[in-house]
């Protein structure tokens, strides 16, 4: 199962891939396509990736989290055409200790946003289209 996929993300399936009887705490994060961006209504969007690097960077981030905490991590980022409300990214961290599960889950989503080469082209209700630049916009989930 690759980290980058053009299929809908299934949180339950991703969670099952890391859940185990010795890991009693499972923390997850879903990032959904929001219906607004910088005050404009978003109709739909397209995610694209630098695929080989995105896979490599996701693998590095997961390895880092699994080295730093006693945790099993699953991660997927969706690309292609997404609708408002669709999940764009899913992270699951399972651990015997919920401190580790929460810390690893948070680390992974922060690093994904900071490091994984993915871009987002948004189609707005007013007919305009734009590549999203989060560095020019303080509002993000």
């Amino acid at each position: 199962m690759g980290f980058i996929t053009d299929q809908p993300l299934e949180l339950a399936a991703l969670a099952r891939s890391v859940m185990a009887p010795e890991r009693g705490g499972v923390t997850s994060f879903l990032g959904l396509v929001r219906n607004h961006q910088g005050g404009r209504a978003v109709l739909r969007l397209e995610y694209s990736a630098y695929g080989p690097m995105a896979e490599a960077e996701c693998a590095r981030i997961v390895d880092e989290a699994q080295s730093r905490w006693i945790v099993a991590v699953a991660l997927q980022h969706r690309v292609g055409a997404l609708e408002v409300g669709d999940a764009a990214v899913a992270v699951v961290a399972a651990s015997a200790h919920r401190d580790d599960a929460f810390a690893a889950c948070r680390y992974v989503i922060e690093e994904v946003k900071r490091r994984v080469p993915v871009w987002k082209r948004e189609y707005y209700a007013d007919g305009t289209v734009a590549w999203v630049d989060p560095t020019a916009n303080l509002q993000h989930a």
């Binding site: 080469p117 871009w119 999203v132």
Partner: protein
Amino acid sequence: MLAASHATLTVHVLLFASYADILGVESVDVTMPAPATVGAVVAHLRALPGGNQLPPKPLCARNLAHAGVDDAVADGDELAVLPPLAGG
């Protein structure tokens, strides 16, 4: 051979998203005098038509890993110039 200053290297440059729009291409091979840095390749790209819309110090990746503008490039490297990331 007389001098290393005559040596060149060729880097396979990839452009994405808004940067591909700016330069009108998604990939281009750049041949430069060796040795060269990531920043030197970017300077070369900024001299192409439309290239002045690229920032002087964009996010770059060399052979699938993030790289700084002062990092060296080698012949045959893949150098990706990355617009602001918007994943997650």
